[in-house]
């Protein structure tokens, strides 16, 4: 009986406690795993975030490039139009149209009345 008790005690001591110990180790490993997954997710998210920012920045870069071209073209167009306007408003051209096309003349002094302010 004593031997039985002793062997049972030994069994409990070696196996049951050992099993308990194993169970405790498994708990810790799951926590670490969860932590690692979270960390990995975070890293991945940061990476994707960086990637997204980088791609977005690239897209914006292309957009800026396109807009820069458009801006240059519009500036040139604006300048061309200003020059064209200046040509159309030149005194010689206006006089030619006024006299030849519209039949206008410079009024004589007697045809001008000065209105006092």
């Amino acid at each position: 009986m004593q031997d039985f008790n002793a062997s049972a005690e030994k069994y409990i001591h070696t196996n049951v406690l050992a099993r308990q110990h194993v169970r405790r180790d498994t708990d810790v490993s799951r926590k670490d795993m969860a932590c690692m997954i979270c960390m990995s997710a975070l890293v991945m998210m940061t990476f994707f975030m960086f990637l997204w920012v980088r791609i977005y920045s690239l897209e914006i870069g292309y957009l800026i490039s396109d807009f820069h071209k458009v801006q240059e073209e519009l500036v040139q167009e604006n300048k061309k139009l200003k020059v064209e306007r200046a040509v159309l408003r030149s005194s010689s051209r206006l006089e030619m149209i006024a006299v030849n096309r519209l039949g206008m003349i410079v009024p004589r002094k007697s045809q001008v009345v000065s209105v006092p302010w």
């Binding site: 914006i60 870069g61 292309y62 040139q76 040509v87 003349i105 410079v106 009024p107 002094k109």
Partner: protein
């Protein structure tokens, strides 16, 4: 004991590892210093050449405006055609295709395409139509580069004042040359990343705009409409008299602003090579001439100011012929006794000579210089001449006499109009200027040229007396009656001076001129009209005075200067004035 030993070893190891890290860190720091500081420029260039591209942004030459903001000169981008001869597969075929579009001989284009150089210009600044046609050919090794081209939208208007630029947009004449450094701008590089397809990507956005790329704009004091009137009437006078050329300047006597500066013959700066350098010259400042009788007003103003003569003083004009030393001075008519006003009115050389004699030589020279002669006006136009007067020690009795009626002294038209402006405005010699302001690309004013009085040459009282005398010149019986303007009182003086030819005075070549201001008592315009070598109507009173009249009339109308209150134009009686019905007629009848 064992425990202690192991602790010491652990500490030793940690120190060793720390030392190792420190050494590594030091190496890294040194390397970073080497790369970031010492080799920074070189490496930046290397990285830029590998994965960055620089876009050359051409400088924008500033615009030149008239006083009301009308463009007189502006720059536009145009394309220039280049070729890379080594890349072109069939130069002969390419030359045959390109030559007709470029309007060049085939052999000339072929020669360029066969050049040993890696890059050749085929034609700089082609037209948009030419560029489109060539682009459609899709010839490998032929391409376009954008360059700046200067355009003068008003064509001939104020061409000699504005000048023009060369093929590389450098100012060559006129304002373009004088203010080249201010308006030309600077080229700038814009850096961008380059992707695998060679496209530009502005990952870090555009750099802040560099204002220096855009040259500054110039706003001139010129009024394009007044300039047009001056040019038109000058051209008419030159044609009518079959003259070699002419000059007209319009100045605001109160401010010294040049409202117009016309030179005939005209040229179109867009096609400047069609006219020669003779036409490019701005004769208003580069040419000198003997002013003749127009100088008498300066003499009389000086004599009155100095108190040498009084307006009522009488001078005997020797019935038209007067001996001075070994020379004989003539008048165009035989005059007896004339007062100072009549000497001006009838333009008596003998009378002027006798007034001049009252001066000491030094005194006369001093007044001439005070009126701004023999020195550049400082208007800010290239190649301005200062004029010439014999050195004081070489001034004989005859020279002094000749200077009194405008011979033996040379002046520029600008100096003359400035001197008359001083008489017009009450004796203030104003600094003539043609640039009103300089504005940067943001619109901020960099420089504003305000009116500057250089000195008070004569008193207001003297100026008033001379003004009244000059009014008499245009009144009936004077030499300048054709300068009269209906509705306004004109003050001015005619001049006809012989040109110097082969060391003596020419008998056939003259300079006919009229200088005056209007309205005489409240002057808005001082105008000089100078006709060079008229073949018909050789007197200033016959050709220059009528041109002055037509210019003044149109300019005063344009400036809305109301006619002076003469009986016919009294504002108080305005309701009683009946206006004639406006009829449509040809411009010549107006």
């Amino acid at each position: 004991m064992v425990k202690m030993k192991s602790r010491n070893e652990l500490a030793k190891n940690i120190r060793f590892i720390a030392m190792g890290f420190m050494v590594l860190f030091a190496i890294a720091a040194l390397r970073a210093y080497f790369l970031q500081i010492l080799k920074s420029g070189e490496l930046t260039e290397l990285i830029q050449s590998q994965c960055m591209t620089s876009i050359e942004l051409m400088p924008y030459r500033g615009t030149v405006y008239d006083r009301n903001g009308a463009e007189l000169a502006a720059s536009l981008d145009v394309e220039s055609l280049y070729a890379r001869p080594g890349v072109i597969r069939d130069p002969k075929a390419a030359a045959k295709l390109l030559a007709p579009i470029l309007e060049l001989p085939i052999h000339a284009v072929y020669r360029d395409l066969m050049s040993s150089k890696p890059f050749v210009w085929l034609q700089r600044k082609v037209t948009p139509t030419q560029a489109d046609s060539i682009r459609a050919l899709k010839i490998e090794g032929v391409g376009f580069i954008k360059e700046s081209q200067r355009f003068y939208p008003q064509k001939e208007l104020a061409a000699q004042v504005i000048g023009f630029v060369g093929i590389d947009s450098q100012g060559l004449e006129g304002i373009e040359r004088q203010y080249d450094s201010i308006i030309k701008g600077k080229s700038r590089k814009l850096f961008a990343d380059r992707d695998a397809k060679g496209r530009n990507v502005f990952v870090e956005g555009l750099q802040p705009s560099d204002q220096s790329r855009q040259g500054n704009d110039l706003m001139l004091t010129i009024d394009k409409n007044i300039q047009y009137i001056a040019e038109k009437e000058l051209q008419a006078a030159v044609s009518q008299s079959q003259a070699k050329g002419g000059t007209a300047i319009v100045m605001d006597p109160m401010t010294g602003e040049i409202l117009a500066s016309a030179v005939c013959p005209l040229f179109n700066p867009n096609q400047r090579n069609e006219a020669g350098p003779e036409a490019w010259r701005n004769r208003a400042v580069t040419d000198i001439y003997e002013p003749g009788s127009t100088f008498k007003a300066v003499l009389v103003a000086s004599a009155l100011e100095e108190g040498i003569v009084k307006p009522t003083d009488m001078f005997f004009c020797e019935n038209g012929s007067y001996h001075v030393a070994t020379h004989i001075i003539h008048d165009h008519a035989a005059y007896g006794w004339l007062d100072v006003a009549n000497i001006i009115k009838h333009s008596s050389n003998i009378g002027a000579s006798k007034i001049g004699k009252q001066f000491g030589k030094e005194q006369l020279y001093q007044y001439i210089r005070r009126f701004g002669f023999t020195a550049e006006t400082g208007i800010g136009l290239p190649s301005e001449q200062s004029g010439f007067m014999p050195a004081l020690k070489n001034c004989s009795e005859h020279t002094q006499s000749a200077i009194s009626f405008g011979q033996s002294i040379t002046v520029t038209p600008l100096q003359m109009v400035t001197a008359y402006a001083a008489i017009a405005n009450g004796g203030m010699l104003m600094q003539p200027h043609i640039v009103k302001r300089i504005v940067d690309s943001t619109g901020a004013v960099i420089r504003q040229n305000a009116p500057v009085m250089r000195r008070q040459v004569i008193s207001v009282k003297t100026a008033d007396i001379v003004r009244d005398m000059l009014k008499q010149v245009v009144a009936p019986g004077g030499t300048g009656t054709k300068a009269a303007v209906d509705g306004y009182v004109v003050a001015g003086k005619t001049g006809t001076s012989q040109k110097i030819e082969q060391g003596g005075y020419s008998h056939s070549k003259v300079m006919a001129s009229f200088i005056g201001f209007v309205p005489a008592d409240n002057p808005r315009l001082t105008i000089i009209v100078l006709i060079d070598e008229p073949q018909r109507m050789k007197f200033g009173g016959d050709i220059a005075a009528p041109a002055f009249s037509r210019m003044s009339d149109a300019m005063l109308n344009y400036l809305h200067v109301p006619p002076e209150p003469t009986p016919a134009h009294d504002p108080g009686q305005i309701k009683e004035i009946r206006t004639e019905p406006i009829k449509l007629a040809k411009l010549d009848e107006a």
